[in-house]
């Protein structure tokens, strides 16, 4: 199976362009799709060209939707060292979760904002390439047993490292917990506050008109090749207010030109124009 050819066919016949995903990763994902669906290369090509429902499912299987409540718990106090003073000083602020997956990070962040007394000033936006993820993010319904560990981990972390004085969170304020049904349901006052939209970082114009104070995009760009990563960083840079902040995954770092356009402060990248190059 010629993956480059397949990605070209996908790009020409559907709204999805994965041709600048990193080679190894897209190849591995496609091999898995072929194996999981018991398809031949020809059948895959045919279905891709004429079966819209199949293509939606394919996007689901190609993209990686791993997320956790309070993922990397020890990093949140570090983020808020930088975010809290900046956000507190504003009358209102906008936060964008780019590649929000099932929304667990969106709600984690909103919980912290609420504990810090900042939620009322926040406008929260979330986007994902997959329609199904958009629905799941809006729904905010998760498995309880599986996710409880994450809440416990985070509780242990902020006990030792309070976020601006917050050392304990009563999670019952934010979730309806049904142990028998194994459900962890995000409460409506959080759910209804997020604007969730389907958006493809690779291809589409911004779905929102406003600029942002903070962009979360953690472990999304690792699936793109370096050139496409740069393109997305350019969009983020443009969409951030001056001194706006970008939060990446634990093991992502800026390389090349955009390294000079953000100043790294621990895990937080702040937009900076201090060192401008002129490219003609």
């Amino acid at each position: 199976m010629d993956f480059k050819h397949y990605l070209h066919v996908l790009k020409e016949n559907t709204p999805y362009d994965f041709s600048n995903y990193s080679d190894n990763s897209i190849k591995r994902r496609l091999q898995k799709v072929i194996a999981d669906n018991g398809l031949t290369a020809d059948q895959l090509l045919e279905k891709t060209q004429c079966d819209k429902v199949f293509v939606e499912g394919l996007v689901e299987q190609i993209t990686v939707n791993t997320t956790e409540l309070f993922r990397d718990p020890e990093l949140w106090p570090a983020y808020y060292d930088k975010l809290y003073p900046a956000l507190k000083a504003k009358k209102s602020f906008n936060i964008w979760h780019a590649g929000c997956s099932t929304g667990m990070e969106v709600y984690s962040n909103m919980i912290i904002l609420n504990e810090l007394g900042l939620l009322d000033k926040a406008r929260i936006y979330a986007t994902d390439i997959s329609n199904n993820m958009v629905r799941q993010c809006q729904k905010g319904s998760y498995r309880y047993a599986f996710n409880k560990q994450q809440l416990d981990n985070f509780a242990a972390v902020i006990k030792k490292a309070p976020i601006n004085g917050v050392s304990r969170i009563d999670f019952a304020k934010y979730f309806d917990i049904d142990e028998q049904e194994d459900r962890l349901q995000v409460k409506d006052f959080l759910r209804k506050k997020v604007q969730v939209k389907r958006h493809d970082l690779v291809k589409e114009q911004m779905p929102f008109y406003n600029k942002f104070d903070v962009i979360f995009c953690r472990n999304v760009l690792i699936y793109f090749n370096a050139a496409l990563q740069s393109k997305v960083y350019q969009v983020f840079h443009k969409q951030l207010f001056p001194k706006g902040m970008m939060i990446l995954g634990n093991h992502e770092s800026l390389t090349g030109f955009y390294k000079t356009k953000f100043s790294k402060n621990g895990a937080v990248y702040a937009k900076s124009n201090a060192f401008q190059f002129q490219y003609q």
Binding site: S22, D23, N24, V64, I222, N250, H251, E252
Partner: protein
């Protein structure tokens, strides 16, 4: 003396492997000429601290790589917690948070297989002590590409499931104790 013809060493290990890796890195020569890529399973609730502990005894620089970081000879790379670590064709790493493989993220199979495809017969794959079968398929890929395969001698393992799973799939080139592995690696260059 073996002439240097390899491009990388890749090591996988699980239960009991931390002390083995630690000891190996303290005994490897300072001018070791290849990159060493290590994928160790971690306990889920203890995600940090591994790289710091390994660094303590290592003579070589130990790094938890970022996505797209270039692979450099003489450095030791440790798969970061909660990410799969892959070698890419352009000689860089890529990270992924795909589902755990063999109940593990990082998964040794992912790291070993991706390295096998990139370095082919210029790769040395080593599987150490461990309690599951992660790494066996990766070692088979290395063997299929005519790379060198080494397993830790089961007699010297805290848990021998992992090297034995490799030996069920392929006949490894060498079955070595940790000291013999170090000795082999230190003699890769004259």
């Amino acid at each position: 003396m073996i002439r240097r013809k390899y491009k990388a060493v890749v090591i996988g290990g699980s239960a009991g492997s931390f002390s083995v890796v630690s000891k190996m890195l303290s005994q490897l020569r300072e001018d070791f000429p290849l990159p060493i890529i290590i994928c160790l399973h971690r306990l889920k609730h203890i995600r940090s601290g591994l790289v710091e502990s390994i660094r303590l005894k290592s003579k070589l620089d130990v790094i938890e790589p970022d996505d797209k970081q270039q692979i450099v000879a003489g450095k030791v790379y440790l798969a970061p917690s909660n990410y799969h670590l892959f070698v890419e064709y352009d000689g860089s790493f890529s990270l992924s948070t795909e589902k755990p493989l063999n109940h593990s993220r990082p998964s040794i199979d992912h790291t070993l297989s991706s390295a096998a495809y990139v370095y082919r017969n210029k790769l040395i794959g080593i599987v150490l002590t461990g309690a599951n079968k992660d790494g066996a398929k990766g070692m088979k890929d290395i063997a299929d590409k005519k790379g060198i395969t080494i397993i830790q001698d089961p007699k010297t393992c805290e848990v021998d499931t992992m090297p034995k799973s490799v030996a069920r799939l392929i006949t490894p080139d060498y079955v070595y104790s940790p000291d013999e592995i170090v000795n082999y690696l230190n003699h890769l260059v004259g």
